[in-house]
């Protein structure tokens, strides 16, 4: 299990990195934390001819407050930095709650947020989180930069909207609507494993107690992070109680997903888990929206 040969560049500036990506095109891969890319190379399931190592570019690791009250996070920010950052805990409790679910301590010390998003593992937490919060991904190339909404970014199995010469440089996580409730739940075989199924829920109630904002984002159930749009439709404009939540969860399981079978779980078990987790996350989110303390 030794990686195939490649040429290696470790640019000191983003401009150099972008020039290298432009120059090497399809055969080039950006090396961020390497926690997914390197195992894939060690198994010889990936053989990039050029690696552009982003780890020496100084300005890609930061967590800042965005003008809208959300967060701007540099692509090379390591998981551990987001996990332990007080700004994240304070301004984005959902991101804060998500981080410990990702891999193990050693993985989080090295893995980056931008790398996770670019890798787009359908069973990973961060891509689904980005969809849940309606985040945006800043893609940069020698040609310029653009913001891609998370809803457009993930395009299929390990496939994204990034062009060959583009790098992710920044993530924008808008703030959750004031007074909204949120939750993340996942079922994994072992602690730290990729999820069999995972779910994020965010909801907000209007003055009359009706749901005026809801996002349910699922992972592990398709070829990428997916929204439970039917379930969201069921809830929008409704008063939320156990029955409404059960109806939404059932809709998510039956209409919104067509999950895969693999050695860890059958499609039918995953469908069942979608139902369970959508119920659990909505129930928790509703409690939080009502100002209750929730221990997941």
């Amino acid at each position: 299990m030794k990686p195939p040969p490649f040429d290696y560049y470790a640019p000191d500036t983003l401009d150099e990195a972008l020039a290298l990506m432009a120059q090497h095109g399809y055969g080039a891969k950006a090396l961020a934390g390497g926690q997914s890319l390197v195992p894939t190379m060690n198994f010889r399931l990936a053989a990039p001819s050029v690696l552009v190592d982003l780890n020496r570019i100084p300005d890609l690791s930061y967590i800042r407050l965005a003008p809208d009250g959300g967060l701007l996070i540099g692509a090379m920010t390591r998981h551990v930095q987001a996990e332990k950052n007080p700004k994240v805990a304070d301004k984005h409790p959902l991101l804060h709650a998500t981080m410990p679910n990702i891999g193990h301590p050693q993985i989080r010390n090295r893995g980056t947020l931008g790398g996770s998003i670019a890798h787009a593992d359908p069973a990973a937490e961060l891509p689904a989180l980005m969809r849940a919060v309606q985040g945006r991904i800043k893609a940069q190339s020698a040609r310029g930069s653009r913001w891609i909404p998370a809803d457009d970014f993930f395009q299929g199995f390990f496939t994204t909207a990034l062009a060959e010469d583009e790098l992710i440089t920044e993530l924008h996580l808008p703030p959750l609507p004031a007074g909204s409730g949120w939750a993340i739940e996942e079922v994994a075989r072992r602690h730290g494993d990729f999820a069999l199924v995972g779910a994020f829920a965010i909801l907000h109630l209007d003055g009359a107690g009706r749901c005026d904002h809801v996002r349910i984002s699922l992972f592990g159930v398709g070829d990428g992070p997916m929204l439970a749009t039917t379930a969201m439709g069921v809830l929008r404009g409704e008063k939320l109680d156990d029955e409404a939540i059960a109806t939404a969860a059932e809709a998510a399981a039956q209409k919104d997903v067509d999950p895969p079978s693999d050695v860890h779980a059958t499609a039918s078990f995953r469908r069942h888990l979608v139902n369970v987790l959508v119920q659990r996350t909505l129930t928790q989110a509703l409690a939080r929206a009502a100002g209750q303390e929730v221990t997941a």
């Binding site: 299990m1 030794k2 990686p3 195939p4 040969p5 490649f6 040429d7 290696y8 470790a10 090396l31 390497g34 926690q35 390197v38 195992p39 190379m41 060690n42 198994f43 690696l51 190592d53 780890n55 551990v80 410990p100 891999g103 193990h104 301590p105 050693q106 993985i107 010390n109 090295r110 602690h191 730290g192």
Partner: protein, 162 residues
């Protein structure tokens, strides 16, 4: 493709200058180029944790880094942990006292994971310990004795620093 890149790495306080092929894994570099064979390789896909080293003080899996990436960085391996050949680090002592190792293959990875953990968490709970070592597989001990050893090490480290 036969690019060779000069690197300078500080390992256990010693500076090494070598030329490496970009694809050389840091775990292989440490073990075979530097001869520091205490760092073990169990899976080469980042799950077992046997190859855990401290990279600028942080535990990382050395099988998921290329040696070229270590250029200019500071590494600590199991060989650099004990203060001198006649004394063990408190974590090593505690592993010995609590029978926290059997075959000993995974042990260096556990010990390296625990060093910064105990420095940051001088008085961890069982739950925190189990979470901290959840990225290291041990096939022999069933983990119980390792958890005991971590408590013991915490006590020893507190004693040493008081």
């Amino acid at each position: 493709m036969s690019q060779r890149i000069p690197i300078t790495v500080r390992v256990n306080g010693v500076t090494y200058q070598r030329e490496v092929e970009p694809r050389l894994l840091l775990s292989d570099f440490i073990r075979h180029d530097l001869g520091l064979t205490g760092t073990h390789v169990g899976c080469e896909h980042g799950v077992c944790g046997a190859c855990t080293i401290l990279f600028d003080g942080q535990p990382v899996r050395s099988c998921l880094l290329f040696a070229v990436q270590a250029d200019g960085h500071n590494i600590l391996t199991i060989e650099g942990l004990a203060p001198d050949p006649d004394h063990l680090h408190p974590i090593q002592e505690a592993f010995h006292d609590a029978h926290a190792l059997q075959c000993g293959f995974c042990t260096p990875g556990f010990v390296m994971t625990l060093k910064p953990f105990l420095e940051e968490n001088p008085d961890p709970s069982d739950e925190e310990i189990r979470e901290a070592i959840s990225g290291n597989l041990c096939r022999c001990t069933g983990y119980d004795h390792i958890v005991d050893a971590v408590h013991l090490a915490a006590d020893k480290m507190k004693e040493a620093s008081s």
